[in-house]
Symmetry: C2
Subunit: 490 residues, 2 copies
């Protein structure tokens, strides 16, 4: 009993959570209850309808959807399906009546043919949105033909059915639109806005994490297989990356909705919202790849990261700023300012690029270059390695040596070069080279990891342009407010 | 009329295409027609059922789905919803009967409450798969209560309804399973197999295109916004990247299906298929990013690509080979061979890494390094640039000069270094530096693009490990055939 009580309790808590997180859930359920009550009352009041009452109830339950667009599209499908099937069934009834004693056979054949054709048509990609309509069409046709055949009241059956469906649909629509309407278009708008903020937050977190060399909680296996995890960074961009199917279903409903609220326009360009979201997703994929850099096994050493600290941070925060700005503009439905939104972030990216040019010796494994000076040094080192045989220690020594050289400032270097050039020039020792190769490969891969992170960040900045372009197109088509005009007015 | 005829013709062609591309579409339509015919025949034969015949037709149309798993799950939902709603409605009828003259009020209130609760429960994420069941529950409850109230025949209505639904469901199931069954599990299997091949082909094409410096048809705007395009490369990996929602729906149905065909096992690990597909998607994202490199504005010069030609090509083709091998193994449902599948590709990747280490001076803009020798050279060059003022020409000259130096073999370099070190050492000239910076930034970005491509490829290889691991897990759980055992048997 205690266990049972616990279950009920956790269920109650969950129900409360769902209601609190989105009060529209509660409203929607109440609305459906209300619509059902209304239709039952109507049926109680008018005795003569009772026989076909099932159609009205069925229509309410089936047509009443969360979003108004969905309700409208289902209602339309249902109406159209019923009407056309009714007409066809009546025609068929006349025809089969003429056939005399073959009537039953003709009815059966017609049912098979219609069933086949309607199902086949349903599979056409272009007719996919009307899938429900085809179903209703089939049900209506079979029902009218069969029950009409029994009773001979084809017309009455068809008309009754249609009237009751119309009644159910109108009750559904009335309740759904008049009381606390839930618009798919608004959901789409909010979804895209939220994605902007999510990606911006993730981007900042990732860059900061990367620089503070915080390895997060290391959940590579989960992220690798693209599964859900509780990583807050992951959750930020996840919605943007995975919202395709959500958007697709929302846009299907949104195009059905009449102008309302902020979207006072016939043929509102919902498609452009999806386009903006697609461009954002393209940026988010870069953020995802950067996240992959943090989670990967091979990591660039902290000192090297530190060199690019300022520049990386600046690009990251400026990039996030641009995303936030776009998100806010979208929320307020304003056009972009006249000035170039991307100027600062492009400048920051160029600076980073510059710094990389200057310090690119940090990113590559210069000691294994094929040009003269280095290999010579390496050979000498290898020789030394052959003597003390301690591969690992030697390698570290070697590395710190060469890095020290690379970090020296201009004035001192020529001397050290000279010193090296005078050193002995022995033939290479293959055995030692092979010994070194493995650790070296990792070494250079770890430096490349920093390059990858940086170039992903720069690619991210490059993709922002596309995002801004699609945003401007949306602003143009959806007639967003121009912030300058607004200022003049007030 | 001509126009109309053309339309009909194109429609016919399309219908033929759909039928030819997947004959199961035709079979499915025919099966639905057959099921409808059977149920109509049954209704014709048994006169007494006719009044409630609508339920049987409705059930057939609604429950008959493309995949058997979907049919089973819908049938189960429908049955459960009807049964529980029937029981509840009968209980409620007893209760409202006791209430005497408040009967109607109680019925109305109960409808509202049930409607609210069922809809609210439907919104629970865990109860999502039973969404349809809740709908049926609501319809049944309202129908039985209302029509029972009129006629007083609660029990008869409930039992009749249930029997007819059971009849419809069994006809659907019988036809759907016995004649040319279409399994969701098999579709899932084929989808994943196809994705493997698609990604492999894309990978090869991308690497080849990159090396032959073929800029494709340059459809960046479309790919950037993640939209559909006709690029064959894109189509290869697209399915793998975008199949999440397809997989999600297929797995929902697949778990409902009984053991069948090659999947002779209770609780077949369909989840692991999705996991393998997730790991593959993770690889495909890298391929997508590489494709982005081909389409991006900044391109590495062909000569530089040519240097890494062999290595890149080898990694690409070996990677594709691994994917193909995995795809074939999956198709044949065999376990992996004992030997390490990834050995060759890892070796190839290491070789590439090595080559990069050796040639990394090609990937960076070494002339702007901060260490002694180069800046000095640069300063001298800048000075010269100040004299002839032709920034662009100077820059090219400068570049070719420094590259020539870098490409020289060991023996000659020391001299050239010496020569440079003896040259005059003038103070820097800031104006000329700024003039150069912009073109230099692009220059080095173009070299970085090659780095990015390479490190993406290496990251791709790294992710293969994860893919192989998840494949092995699938092979273990699904009891794939061991190729060695098979050989012994034969």
């Amino acid at each position: 009993i205690v266990k049972c009580w616990k279950r009920v309790k956790s269920f109650g808590v969950k129900a409360w959570e769902i209601g609190r997180s989105d009060p529209r859930n509660v409203m929607f359920s109440a609305k459906l209850g209300l619509a059902l009550t209304l239709i039952s009352l109507l049926i109680f009041l008018r005795e003569d309808m009772s026989r076909y009452s099932v159609w009205a109830i069925l229509t309410v339950v089936v047509v009443f959807e969360f979003h108004i667009g969905a309700t409208l599209s289902k209602g339309f499908n249902r109406g159209l399906g019923t009407l056309s099937a009714g007409a066809l069934a009546l025609g068929m009834a006349e025809l089969s009546f003429l056939a005399g004693k073959w009537e039953e056979l003709i009815i059966i054949i017609s049912i098979f043919t219609i069933g086949f054709c309607a199902t086949y048509a349903k599979l056409f990609p272009t007719l996919k949105p009307y899938e429900y309509g085809f179903r209703v069409f089939l049900i209506t046709y079979c029902f009218i033909t069969i029950s009409g055949y029994r009773t001979g009241e084809f017309v009455e059956t068809a008309v009754n059915r249609f009237l009751l469906i119309a009644l159910g649909a109108s009750v559904s629509l009335g309740v759904n639109i008049c009381i606390y309407p839930i618009w798919a278009g608004e959901d789409l708008h909010n979804l895209v806005t939220k994605n902007f903020i999510g990606v911006a937050t993730s981007l900042e977190d990732i860059v900061n994490n990367y620089l503070s060399f915080n390895e997060c909680k290391r959940v590579p296996s989960k992220t690798l297989t693209y599964e859900v995890s509780d990583d807050p960074i992951y959750n930020g961009y996840r919605s943007a990356v995975e919202s395709t199917s959500k958007e697709d279903s929302l846009i299907v409903f949104a195009v059905w909705e009449p102008p309302h609220g902020h979207y006072k326009m016939l043929k509102y360009p919902w498609k452009n919202y999806v386009k903006v979201s697609g461009a954002l997703r393209h940026c988010a994929l870069m953020v995802m790849a950067m996240h992959g850099c943090i989670l990967s096994e091979i990591q660039a050493p902290a000192e090297k990261r530190h060199v690019f600290h300022c520049e990386l941070q600046r690009v990251g925060s400026e990039g996030a700023k641009v995303l936030r700005e776009l998100g806010n503009k979208l929320k307020k439905m304003e056009k972009l300012d006249r000035e170039d939104l991307l100027y600062v972030v492009h400048e920051a990216a160029e600076e980073l690029q510059h710094k990389i040019d200057k310090k690119s010796y940090l990113l590559v494994n210069s000691e294994s270059w094929e040009i003269g000076n280095r290999p010579r040094e390496e050979k000498r080192d290898n020789l030394r390695g052959l003597f003390n045989r301690d591969g690992e220690r030697k390698f570290l020594e070697h590395k710190s040596l060469s890095e020290a050289v690379l970090d020296l400032r201009s004035v001192e270097v020529p001397k050290s070069w000279d010193a090296k050039l005078t050193s002995e020039n022995n033939p290479a020792v293959p055995a030692a080279i092979i010994l070194n190769n493995i650790s070296k490969t990792y070494e250079s891969a770890s430096a490349l990891s920093l390059t990858t992170f940086t170039s992903l960040l720069i690619e991210f900045v490059a993709r922002l342009q596309n995002l801004v372009d699609s945003f401007e197109e949306l602003g143009e088509k959806a007639k967003f407010v121009d912030p300058l005009d607004q200022q003049e007015e007030s």
